[in-house]
């Protein structure tokens, strides 16, 4: 009697639960807009799109001149992430113009720019906003010493040990020690001094940026005169290939100089190494693409502050004002976003050895390191605390914790508390050096009592006066 009912119910349950577990693992959302230029064939990247969809993202594909593409409507973002694969597009629709994209980034849109060696002027100008200067048109990253024997040097191999940089949580340990990455048809860029830029991959020391055609001596001289071949900035490790920027609001924007590295041709296939010969290893393209998109789309490296407290040592209550030379205890709890094995978002503790606290009034008066407090940390958060003495200065201070590191979300919190000087009755009460004064006052009282006593006890004893009275 219950057999069929139970089986249909359990089937319904598993269906519902499987639907709900396909939630995005990103900390900010799962709607992705993918803009592909006409030259890019969507089916060439089918494995990349399916890997994103498997991770729970909802992909919408549009062209660069599609008037229906809108990033924000009435102040609300329609997409959480953007993939722009439009390196050679010369003009965009209004909704996708660089100005719109930048204002959407200010509102929280994480972006991944996939590029090639043919970058249009409008894109080149846009990328200067991010302090990136791209190589000339049709100049690709070439490496004659590090490419598969079967393919040309325009599809060089990047070895993780020499070309990938460990910047916080951007790349996982397995990618950093994994197979070589094929980087075909890429451009190259130089990064400026902007501290919010994160270098992810650069050329190997034998690579250079040049044209993939034989150039004779005269042409080379002309180009050198025009400043197109600037070896100092476009060779070896100075040739940037993958970089990212994390803005102050923790919006992440990635730049991959070779969009073709995500294509099916290199996804999960084997590549032959340049040396030793005849050795084929799995390529690292798929792992690199997954790591980079996980970071850009706010899945890895996302850190947040759970709570901050401050109180006098020995008390539990948080006060608005403390006294100078008070022992103050400050604690902060941090958590890092993590994807559980079943595919849901969760938070875990975030341990770091160099978190610093500043007790600031205009300038930091005290800067000290915060250490982990194991008693108040659990699997969901890590609590750091520190006890210190409030300075001699009185005024309005702030407990400032700032943690700016490449590859992790920036942390910047401040709690205000005032520090007041000693009240008139908080000074030491009885002082050793004041005994002369204490003794003089006490002896005044004693003398008065003695005088009264004597006056009462001693008679006038003057017979003359008595006689007068009589």
């Amino acid at each position: 009697m219950y057999g069929p009912k139970w089986s249909s119910l359990s089937a319904l349950f598993t269906l519902v639960s499987s639907l709900s577990s396909v939630n995005a693992r990103s900390a900010t959302g799962d709607r992705v807009l993918v803009v592909l230029e006409p030259k890019v064939v969507k089916e060439d990247y089918s494995k990349f799109w399916s890997s994103l969809e498997k991770r729970g993202f909802e992909l919408t594909f549009k062209g660069p001149k599609d008037e229906s593409a809108v990033l924000q409507r009435y102040g609300e973002a329609l997409y959480d992430h953007l993939i722009m694969f439009t390196p050679s597009v010369k003009s965009y629709a209004n909704g996708l113009s660089p100005k719109e994209v930048i204002s959407a980034q200010f509102a929280g849109l994480n972006t991944l720019y996939l590029l090639s060696s043919n970058i249009s002027e409008i894109n080149r100008d846009t990328f200067r906003e991010y302090d990136l200067e791209f190589a000339e048109r049709d100049y690709t990253y070439l490496d004659a010493f590090s490419h598969s024997p079967g393919s040309s040097l325009a599809a060089p191999l990047l070895y993780p040990q020499s070309s990938l940089i460990k910047s916080g949580a951007v790349l996982s340990a397995s990618t950093l020690t994994g197979g070589p990455i094929v980087f075909p048809g890429s451009t190259s860029f130089t990064l400026g001094q902007n501290p919010f830029l994160v270098e992810v991959a650069h050329g190997s020391k034998t690579g250079y940026v040049g044209e993939n055609r034989l150039v004779d001596a005269d042409e080379a001289e002309v180009e050198a005169g025009l400043g197109k071949r600037d070896a100092a900035s476009t060779t070896g490790k100075k040739a940037g290939l993958v970089a990212a920027m994390q803005t102050r609001d923790n919006v992440r924007i990635g730049f991959v100089a070779s969009g073709s590295m995500f294509s099916d041709e290199w996804w999960g296939t084997e590549v032959e190494l340049s040396s030793p010969k005849n050795v084929a290893v799995p390529s690292g393209n798929a792992a690199f693409a997954e790591d980079l998109t996980k970071w850009i789309f706010q899945e890895t490296g996302v850190v947040k502050v759970i709570s901050t407290t401050h109180h006098r040592k020995g008390e539990l209550e948080q006060r608005e004002s403390y006294r100078i030379k008070d022992d103050l205890t400050f604690s902060i709890s941090l958590a890092e976003h993590v994807t559980l094995p079943d595919g849901t978002s969760s938070w875990q503790g975030f341990e770091t050895p160099d978190l610093q606290l500043e007790f600031t009034m205009l300038d930091p008066h005290i800067r000290t390191s915060l250490s982990v407090d194991p008693a108040r940390s659990d699997s969901k958060q890590t609590t750091y605390s520190k006890t210190f003495k409030a300075p001699d200065r009185h005024g309005v201070f702030k407990f400032v914790v700032e943690y700016w590191r490449s590859g992790y979300s920036y942390i910047s919190t401040s709690d205000t508390a005032s520090v007041v000087p000693f009240r008139h009755d908080e000074y030491p009460r009885f002082i050793l050096g004041a005994w002369p004064f204490y003794s003089s006052a006490i002896s005044m009282s004693a003398a008065f009592l003695l005088f009264c006593g004597l006056w009462v006890a001693v008679g006038e004893g003057d017979r003359k006066g008595k006689k007068k009275a009589e």
Binding site: P195, G236, E358, I366, L432, W435, A457, G461
Partner: protein, 287 residues
Amino acid sequence: MWASKLFTILAAASLVLGSKTPALGIKQGKIAITSPDGLHDATYPLEPPTSLSQPIVLSEGSTLKLTFNSVDKASGNAVFPQQAHLLFEDSKGGEDVTLPVSVKSNGRASWTFNTAKPISALTHTHGPLHLTLLLSALDSHTPLHYPIGELQLPSSILKAPLRRRHDLPPRQGEPAFQPQQELFHTFNQGEKSVGFIKSALGTGVVLSPWGVLLGLYSQISPKLDYKTPPSSAYLFLVSLAALEALIFVYWVGLRLYQLLPMFILLALVSAYTGKVALKALRSQSAR
């Protein structure tokens, strides 16, 4: 049938033999060091793949000139390379520097380094540099990676390394991306306090008039006429003493609002007992 088989075998063989790409090489490569005083002049011939056995040490004022002909190794014909770079690797972990070598159309290449007017990119290195010559010509020739040897620049031309992106101190308006130096607050020294000896001496000085008083009193005491005061006088004295005691207790630990009620009460009591006592005393002295 065997003819077609032989033909295919021959064709395959010629393909394999013919498809062997030529290799790039250098001919007449040498490094010449010249100096104004002529003391450290030297010429080192370069024969790839053998590196130089001794490191090249440049002294102040000397000039290094590298010259070679870029050729096809097999035939010896001049080849114009697409990439002719000198890679300077800093052995002490600094940044690598890659500099181009100017090559003419006939394959002749030269690179000069004058320590009197040094190339700025090299002045920010430190330590001995591993020098490597990289020559490549796209897919038409196999490239040449020739580690020439070690080069030591004179320390007088070396400058401090350039600032990296996240070095401290941070630039104006930018946050620090590294842990910064810890700051400690130096507290004011406590006020200087008076010691026990000075305090004891002071107390002695303050209490010395009591000695004088007691001495004088003992002298006039026999001449005084003591009489027993009436009992109300004792009560008066006790209330006065209580008043003094209250003042002392207030000084030690009471607050004004706690003092005043008791003080007023005791003052009234003292006034009343004083009035009674003084009346009694007057009547006693009038008798």
